[in-house]
Each structure stands twice: as C-alpha cells, then as structure tokens.
Subunit: 216 residues, 2 copies
Amino acid sequence: MGTGVARKISESTVRRLSLYLRFLEEFEEQGTETLSSEELARRGSTTAAQVRKDLSLFGSFGKRGLGYSVRELKSTLRRLLGLDRAWRVALIGAGRIGSALFAYGDFRRRGFTIVTVLDTDPDKIGARWGSVRIQDAEGLEEVLRRESVDIAILAVPVEEAQRVADRVVDAGVQAVLNFAPTQLHVPTEVALRDVSMSMELEALSFALTTGNGTGP
Amino acid sequence: MGTGVARKISESTVRRLSLYLRFLEEFEEQGTETLSSEELARRGSTTAAQVRKDLSLFGSFGKRGLGYSVRELKSTLRRLLGLDRAWRVALIGAGRIGSALFAYGDFRRRGFTIVTVLDTDPDKIGARWGSVRIQDAEGLEEVLRRESVDIAILAVPVEEAQRVADRVVDAGVQAVLNFAPTQLHVPTEVALRDVSMSMELEALSFALTTGNGTGP
C-alpha cells in the first residue's frame, strides 16, 4: 500500500472531500476562479470551519484573504483521492444490479474502468457488454490477476458474498465494493466499502420513526 | 415527526443497529437463542464495549451473565429502526438504476414496498412493472399524495435531482433516498440519504492511494 497521509482519515471526511471535488467542478463550469471556504461550505450545507479543517489535513491550500484557486484545489483533491490515475475494476455478478452498475457513466468519468465482468450463469458467460466479454467466475483468481484488477465490485447474492470476497482477496485485490446486504470480513489491509440499499432505507425509517436526523 | 429517542444518534450507530439486526437474524436461523455482546461483536468485527454502548442508547436489554435473548433483541431493533410497520415508497426514475432497485428483493422483505414508479419518458409511462404501472412524473405531487408515500427514492439524472427533490418535499414526503451523485438540499425536518456509487469507489481509491483505512 502507498504511503502519504499518515493519520487515519474518517469515512465522513473522505466523503466530504469527494463532495468538495464535485462542487469545485460545478463552480469551474460556471467560470468561478477563486472560492472562499464560506462559499464551499454553503454549497455543501456545512460550515466554513469544517471546510478549512478538512482541507488543512492535507496541508494549507488557501491564501489568506484570497480564498482557494478552484483549479488548484480541484487538482489537489483529485490527487488526494487517487483520481489522477486510471483504476482497473472487476465487476463480479452480471445480474440486475451488476448491469445497472456497468451502465453507470459516472464511474468511467472518474477514472474507474470496468475491465472485466464475471458471472457463474452459463447463459451469461461469453456475452458481450460493450467492449467486455463476460467471463466464467469459475476462473475468478486467474482473470483478476491477468487483468491487473485494482478494485472488485461484488454484485452477487448475499449467500455467496463472503466466499467471493475471500477469493478476490486471495487473488491479491486490495479494495472491494460490496453491494450484498451483509458485512464482509476482509483482512485489515484490504479496503472495503459496503453499499446496502436496504440499510439506507432503514436509516430513513429510523429517522421517520424517531424524528432523529441521521447526518454524519 | 415522531418523538422517542431524544438524543441525536449518529449515522454510523444507525448503520450498526441495522447490521446487528441482520446478524441476529442469522443467529436465529442457526437456532441460537441467547447471545453475548462478545459474540455479536465478533460477527460484526467490532468490540463488545461498542455493542453494549450502542444498545444501551435505547435502554438496557441484556441480563447480566445471561446475554441477550436473540428474539427479544431482534424485535426491539426492528421496532427502533421502524421496521415493525410497512413503508410506502415511490421510485422516481425508471432507468437502469431504477429498474435494478425495483427488482431488489431485500426492500420488500424489510417492509419497504414500492407503491408507485414515475418517469418522464413517454415510452415508459403506462408500462407495467409487476403490479405497478409507471406514472407520468409530470403529476408527481398528486401521485405522491394520492399514494400516501412515506419515502421517495430518486434515481434520476444528476441535473434533475435537486428539482425533483424540491417537488417531492413540496408534496409532503419526509424522507428521500438519493442515487444521483450530488448533495441535495432539503429542509432539516426531511431525512435524506445520498448513495453515490462513484463516491464509494473514490473512498477505495483514496484508501489504495494513501494506505489509509476508511472505517467508520
């Protein structure tokens, strides 16, 4: 794994960095060249102090009284988030969620290219999705190694998710994005994100039930 | 909004409650009747102290030395998360992501029923998805009111997301699950969750780049 930022950065900080990057892109499209932490905070429904604190984690960017250069800050955030390079992504599971993810244009725009799709269904294996041919998940480890996959997206049934995750990790993949509604176990050196649509809905039903906000 | 838990509960606590519930269901399927906080912690890769702290937010459940009754704790968590009732959900956007969400069985199992689907595409309006007919999003407010929608899922293009969110809120819906890759503005009394697949990938590329874990 790389070096760089030594401190442990919280999940919500990383999420805010991703959001700041999106806001900066919006501001740039509108022709804005410099920006104060107040303006960035307003766009993100947060405080200027929070913005300054987040950005100061990575060194000092703004010039006192002049604000941030949109172009510079954007490029720094892209570098911090690892978006100044291309990432090779394997999509495991060619079902409905897999196919929606494959078609999701925002991935490619961000430098995440799905270089291989795998499934166990004989009716799907061999089919073409764009420039990619669906591979037999039987040979998962070999495909992941051959394609030099950086990140695996798991869009498999919940009963299979842990077993597939184990194989992905065995194949040397260091980052997993899991869409099965469970919590996977991976070694601590492997980065894991779980996206559970039903847990998101539960956060909303919790909020509706208790009148409790669920902000970060 | 309801009353109940007075303190503000963090997003990550609610997420852990959702996970505990899933683990309890697993344990119950395996025939386990009582459980210690240690066992629950081990399943969730967390600490027993964390489990006890989370659960104590809602009153004391465990009997000293006897652990938690799986059935009781499960039912308490379901009630806390608002899963002891049915929620009426509108799906706005019948594209690829919308259709994957519609087919997602886990929603219905959790008590979230998609009672209406809306889109602006004339080719889609009127089509049947299961027992639901796709409605013209032109009449969004009326449909949401007529169907007594509790939660709106937004699976619309990013350029339209804020405008649609404003209309949903105007129609009186108090909870929004947003799949467009942006941060929406809604009044503080409206519960909002953003699911951004590309931001999840960015959290992974950040971790791969910096060697920084992104745990909660």
